[in-house]
Symmetry: C2
Subunit: 213 residues, 2 copies
């Protein structure tokens, strides 16, 4: 069964695409144009009542929330492709811890930077300079903690690549790319090495090709 991924061009959906590629799962992408409001159409709201992307359909199984989707495929196909959860329940616990850190500490400030720097004019609201400055400061503090963590192990969840690292790919890509803030990564030796490692995985290069053809 080919997995259908709705909204594949957007940041959070790239998490799902990178995971499906790591797990060697066949998929097709179905575009959803947020600027045209397609995510608020009744048909889409039947799949995702909050009206956000991504959503997957896998036969008659539908799932939304990108981090729930990557957990599902990492567990369902544990023995296929890259193992993204760790070998033991304790290792998975630490992976889950850093996936939560990504969601609650890393993502909000970098999302605000993306929103106010790259999308505010497209979405028709003024960029808030105060939000931009505060977000950059918060993100810097988070990256300082990552720098310390990555001095002790190669990846966030331990000495193996996991969904905790994978989940950082889309928005760190914005940070070093369109946001022009590569220095925030490069000024931290261990974060810089980690970024080179995870962003050079063939899965991420392929995900970018699929999502930004």
């Amino acid at each position: 069964m080919v997995v259908k991924v709705y909204g594949a061009g957007y940041g959070s959906a790239k998490r799902v695409i990178a995971c499906l590629i790591e797990k060697e799962i066949e998929f097709e992408t179905i575009p959803i144009d947020l600027l045209k409001g397609e995510h608020k159409h009744p048909h889409f709201l039947q799949l995702q009542p909050f009206g956000v992307v991504p959503v997957i359909q896998d036969g008659d199984y539908t799932l939304f929330e990108s981090r729930a989707i990557i957990r599902y495929y990492a567990e369902k196909y544990k023995a296929q492709g890259t193992d993204l959860l760790g070998k033991t329940i304790e290792e998975r616990g630490v992976v889950e811890q850093w996936l939560e850190v990504e969601a609650h500490n890393f993502h909000p400030p970098v999302y605000n930077l993306v929103l106010h720097t790259l999308f505010s004019s497209k979405l028709g609201f003024p960029a808030d300079q105060k939000v931009i400055e505060e977000s950059e400061e918060k993100l810097g503090k988070v990256l300082d903690i990552y720098e310390e963590r990555l001095s002790k192990c190669k990846y966030l969840g331990g000495d193996f690549f996991s969904i905790a690292d994978l989940s950082h790919l889309p928005f760190t890509q914005y940070l070093v790319g369109d946001l022009g803030k590569e220095q925030m990564v490069r000024s931290r030796k261990n974060v810089s090495k980690w970024w080179d490692d995870i962003s050079n995985r063939p899965s991420w290069k392929k995900a970018l090709d699929v999502c930004n053809p």
Copy 2:
């Protein structure tokens, strides 16, 4: 091994306490006084570099982020106490989806209501009336979607109680209690029935006794 829970009096830590009780795991609570800044002491930052509660210590295993901790115990002791994850990987996927909804859609507005209504004066900043109004409006929309979901199944993750429901307990308790917004729950028939069900579980009553003696 008795699990040590740091910061048990606070909202997110109650998630962990409720889970440990459901799983019949022995624990002890270690108070951390946020108003005295104990969460920023070097000793605590060694356990939790972001300086927030809760943290658990289980022998030499340390874990933070409340939703990572409840996933860990739900999985490690799957066959002990209440099963909180569902029987199949597909059921767990749906549980994870609604746990993510709790974290990203439900929690932020209710947390803002708690912060600006109950804690702003203690923490020494003025309550922002605009944030309060916007948060209540956002929360209302989320609860409308819950009302629809709970018309189709007894609990958020399906017809079984799970970590997705459990994770809502501490901040819904604030909502119907100290925030004085019980009407937001009671005006929605299915949400109201769900709240009566989950808040009357012996585990939650015991968690409140442990945390607010």
